[in-house]
């Protein structure tokens, strides 16, 4: 499970945010495009790609993309 791969899949859930704008340190909830619907897309992507079911709290307590990556990794 690679962080860069996760960031790419994470970026795919956005329409207007490019992967080049995202890094491991990006505070994703501060992105202009972040919304509750994008959050659902992230949950769906993680389920599909990593077979991990994220809870709302997993997203709420993660600040950066790397934080969320670590949650997924710990559950995978």
């Amino acid at each position: 499970m690679e962080l860069q791969d996760f960031i790419e899949k994470f970026a795919e859930q956005f329409d207007e945010t490019e992967v080049s704008e995202l890094t491991a340190e990006t505070k994703f909830k501060e992105l202009d495009e972040w919304s509750s619907l994008i959050a659902l897309s992230i949950i769906a992507m993680v389920d599909e790609e990593y077979d991990v079911t994220l809870k709302g709290n997993d997203i709420n307590t993660s600040s950066t993309i790397e934080d969320l990556f670590n949650v997924v990794k710990s559950k995978a």
Partner: protein, 350 residues
């Protein structure tokens, strides 16, 4: 474990009623930017929904649906042995709504009446309750009325809930007869009670001026303690874990493959969610009917409303259907039913 089978019981007729007042999600621009509205509509699949006028309750919509069903099927009222009413928006705290409907519909005093309460899983549970009574000696016909008016408990200043919910009332006639075996799996997980909730206004947190006030809540949405709250991420997490699994489990018990189903009818939660389940299960999306584009999420009424609005005329010959409801509780139920000669009334407006 609640896995139930019923023999010689089935759905003879169905009807549904929606309010005539249309609420367009495009008009939510006071709450959500137009750009975001377009994305929301595209994702949840709901363009518009129906709202009951002030003074029109779930029971009124069910009453209209029931009247239509009784008329279309020329039902002798004395043959209805029981009336079940399921809703979380009943007429009063006391008394129950079902006896009120018994009297309004002109059903005899010999009719047993019972109110049931569940959210979006409600139809599958209530249908199983109707089947259970009809399976007993002494009861041959149950009139099941399932309706909701979430418009009355939803804050129009809540970005999560305002685009979702609509109102509807439905009637289902369940009776003894030459029906094939039906299967029900009914499940619950109360640890998720906070995921979908109206926290105040009942006995745990009684009505107060404070919880009556519409205020900005922790999630940034404005609502009162007496209006519906939903944690969309947790509900999605829950549904993702249980819904495809429950459908597979029922089909295994029935010993039928997913491909051999004619229709898979989901509670109309939102399109994003159910489309994801369909994709995850690799099911043919053409066999998944939707009515939420026009009527939104009507909670427990959404499954029978979908049948009435999308499958009228398609349930005459033997039709293999799975119904799946999931939501507040947390609660979920899946059922496998073979429809045959089911008389579906035309959708009515009130």
């Amino acid at each position: 474990m609640a896995f139930i089978t019923y023999n010689g019981v089935g759905i003879r007729a169905l009807s549904a009623c929606v309010p005539s007042k249309i609420m367009y999600n495009h008009d939510l621009d006071y709450l959500i930017s137009q750009d975001e509205i377009d994305k929301t509509i595209n994702s949840i699949g709901i363009s518009e929904k129906r709202f009951a006028e002030a003074g029109v309750c779930a029971s009124d919509l069910c009453f209209e649906a029931a009247k239509q069903l009784l008329k279309d099927n020329d039902v002798d009222l004395s043959t209805i042995d029981m009336l079940l009413f399921l809703s979380q928006t009943p007429d009063y705290k006391i008394p129950a709504t079902s006896p009120i409907l018994q009297e309004r519909l002109g059903l005899p005093k010999t009719t047993a009446c019972l109110d049931l309460s569940l959210g979006c899983s409600g139809y599958v549970y209530a249908l199983s309750t109707a089947y259970a009574y009809v399976s007993m000696l002494g009861i041959n016909r149950v009139l099941l009325l399932v309706g909701e008016t979430f418009s009355k408990i939803t804050s129009l200043y809540d970005k999560v809930n305002a685009p979702l919910y609509g109102d509807a009332g439905t009637a289902t006639l369940v009776e003894k007869g030459d029906f094939t075996t039906s299967y029900f799996e009914l499940m619950s997980d109360g640890s998720g009670k906070d995921s979908v909730m109206i926290p105040a206004g009942e006995c745990r947190n009684p009505f107060s001026i404070e919880n009556f006030r519409v205020e900005e809540q922790e999630d940034g949405n404005k609502r009162s303690g007496q209006q519906i709250y939903m944690n969309g991420m947790d509900v999605f997490n829950f549904a993702l874990r249980v819904v495809p699994k429950s459908i597979k489990s029922v089909l295994e018990r029935v010993d039928i493959s997913l491909e051999n189903l004619d229709y898979l009818i989901f509670h109309q939660a939102n399109r994003f969610m159910t489309d994801f389940f369909v994709k995850k299960m690799k099911f043919d999306s053409r066999k998944v009917p939707y009515c939420l584009e026009r009527f939104g999420n009507t909670s427990s009424a959404s499954i029978p409303l979908t049948i009435v609005s999308e499958l009228k005329g398609k349930l005459d010959t033997k039709t293999k259907v799975v119904l799946c409801g999931f939501g507040a509780g947390l609660s979920w139920g899946t059922s496998y039913i073979e429809f045959q000669n089911c008389n579906v009334s035309s959708l009515i407006e009130y």
